[in-house]
């Protein structure tokens, strides 16, 4: 007699994410948390309540150093992302906005997420998710460019200073770089809340290894995803 809670189902396993992308993902996630918290503390520092600079543990300096260190780790880990992007097709799930079906599918998924439709077609990665991840990279790029534009201006005449100094000119002033850096950080956090929810929701609703795929690299799907051909 079969056990009641065990049943046999037929599922397909899709290998999507290279180890490089997975490692990058978790480095990025952890560093974004560090960067966000230290970033808020840099804008509005805590007062250490000391009476002599020599007796403190130089808190502002420490917070800034942690922020910069996390930023460098995040930037360095992009090398993993790029390497995975080159060697593995599953790391290259673009929003395919140059293909007509992308828009129909986006509407389909959006209607489902607005609870106006009972379900949407199955994807390895649905078009809305693709769009939001592409957006995250844009936000990250803004953070990196404005961040280095501020960081390297200790010596504007240096090679690296010249490499990023144009950003401050482009946005109007260095203060504007500070503002943009700070505002975009909030957008990234809003993205993170949405992303966390959508991943947990997908796992909960479909049970198709959405969460574990970022550890194992594999998605084990009961449905047939529409975009499976992108792995060929």
């Amino acid at each position: 007699m079969a056990i009641k809670s065990v049943k046999e189902v037929k599922r397909k396993e899709f290998y999507l994410f290279s180890p490089f992308l997975r490692i990058f993902h978790w480095i990025m996630a952890s560093q974004i948390v560090v960067l966000f918290v230290t970033g808020l503390l840099i804008t509005k520092p805590m007062n250490v309540g000391a009476t002599e600079p020599v007796f403190t543990n130089t808190s502002m300096d420490l917070v800034r150093d942690i922020h910069f260190m996390a930023a460098f780790i995040l930037c360095a880990s992009l090398i993993l992302r790029i390497y995975g992007f080159i060697i593995n097709k599953g790391d290259r799930l673009f929003p395919r906005f140059w293909e007509g079906h992308f828009y129909e599918e986006t509407v389909d998924v959006a209607l489902h997420y607005m609870l106006l439709r009972g379900h949407h077609a199955s994807f390895l990665r649905n078009p809305l998710a693709r769009g939001s991840y592409a957006m995250l990279y844009v936000l990250l790029a803004i953070e990196i460019f404005t961040g280095f534009a501020m960081y390297l201006m200790v010596n504007p005449s240096s090679t690296f200073g010249k490499l990023f100094g144009w950003v401050n000119t482009l946005v109007g002033s260095e203060m504007m770089s500070h503002y943009i850096h700070h505002y975009v950080a909030w957008f990234i956090i809003l993205f993170a809340i949405g992303h966390f929810y959508m991943v947990v929701r997908a796992e909960f609703m479909e049970g198709e290894s959405e969460i574990s795929s970022m550890f194992s690299g594999k998605k084990i799907l009961a449905h047939n995803p529409k975009d499976a051909n992108e792995l060929d």
Binding site: K44, T51, S59, P156, S173, L190, I193
Partner: protein
């Protein structure tokens, strides 16, 4: 054209000693930000270079830069104006006025074509054909274009001529802008500040006067020796910043003790100027030293980056971006929680339908 005398000849004419002259040159060398091995070149230039003709015009501004300039201590502004440069035309410092004065400008431009230094204070009013700033019956735009054509070099004194200044603040009804786009591609040295430090003003004009070239500038056209560092990086209160010791209010113990003004909106971390090392009035003080947070007056857009006493702009009752962001975060979290519940309800409905299908 009559021969113009050099600085050395000017000293000789006044009966100063060689020793005095050399001392002056030492002061000039350090003021222009050179190392001492440039001293012989400064002496050589001071001996041979004829003193330059300067035309100094004023546009859309308050003439506060001149107020600053005349307080220069080393070199004394009077020395610069009376013996180091040949100041032929200046709206503010000239005793002459009217048609003869304007005629003298035309004469000077024609006589020293391609040789004179043009110093410009004040923004250019671009809206409505420039009628918001008139000089001698013409628009300032006209005067600037006329004077810029024959200039060897152009010095933009003050944030107005460099970037547009306070009159360029939103909504900028006069269309005020920096002069750079209106000088026909001539090299412009920007000496921003509201006003610039007097010694920086005299230092830049002396550099151009002695060497005939503009000083080494950064990508924005500001002389590196004066605008190469942030005020924050040269501020004597920096140790308090690093230690996390901040004045929270203008009247608290931290403010009295001279702690860092970062939390009171100090723009030192974004501002390039010599306030931290040269300071004002012969090194007596500068805004931060007197307990006032820097407002970033030498920055290209400082007038629109209010409030000056806060690090982030506020949006009325909504507060700053940290408040709005936190509220949005809470809203998003509440939203996804609601969405989760609705999704579960929807799934259950779907499964019930499927179950019913199976039973039929």
């Amino acid at each position: 054209m009559e021969k113009r005398e050099s600085l050395w000849e000017a000293y000789l004419r006044r009966g100063f000693s060689r020793r005095n002259f050399l001392k002056g040159c030492v002061a000039l060398t350090s003021l222009m930000g050179f190392s001492t091995d440039m001293f012989s070149k400064v002496v050589e230039a001071a001996e041979t270079k004829p003193l330059p003709v300067v035309i100094w015009i004023h546009g859309h501004e308050c003439t506060g830069c001149d107020e600053s300039f005349i307080r220069s201590g080393a070199p004394l502004a009077s020395d610069v104006v009376l013996s180091s440069i040949a100041l032929e035309y200046d709206h503010l410092l000239s005793a002459a006025c009217g048609a003869p004065f304007e005629a003298h400008l035309d004469e000077t431009i024609a006589k020293y074509n391609g040789q004179y230094i043009l110093a410009v204070e004040g923004a250019i009013a671009t809206k409505d054909s420039g009628v918001y700033c008139m000089s001698g019956g013409h628009t300032f735009t006209h005067l600037l274009e006329k004077a810029a054509k024959g200039a060897a070099a152009i010095i933009a004194y003050g944030s107005c001529s460099a970037y547009g200044g306070i009159q360029a603040a939103k909504p900028n009804p006069t269309g005020s802008a920096g002069i750079e786009r209106f000088v026909g591609g001539k090299p412009v040295v920007k000496v921003p500040g509201c006003p610039p430090i007097p010694e920086v003003m005299t230092g830049v004009v002396m550099h151009v006067a002695l060497f005939g070239t503009i000083p080494p500038c950064d990508s924005d056209g500001r002389p590196k020796q004066f605008y190469g560092n942030r005020i924050h990086d040269t501020c004597y209160r920096r140790p308090f910043f690093d230690a996390g010791m901040f004045a929270e209010n203008f009247d608290d113990a931290g403010a009295k003790a001279g702690w860092c003004l970062y939390k009171l909106g100090c723009r030192g971390p974004e501002t390039y100027n010599s306030c931290g090392n040269l300071r004002w009035w012969q090194g007596m003080s500068y805004p931060i030293q007197s307990g006032a947070p820097c407002i970033g007056c030498s920055n290209s857009n400082f007038w629109d980056e209010d409030p000056f006493t806060d690090r982030l702009p506020k949006y009325g009752k909504l507060g700053d971006v940290d408040k709005i962001g936190a509220a949005l975060g809470v809203l998003t979290a509440a939203g996804v929680a609601g969405h989760a519940v609705a999704s579960i309800v929807q799934r259950n409905q779907r499964e019930n339908l499927i179950d019913e299908d199976h039973h039929e």
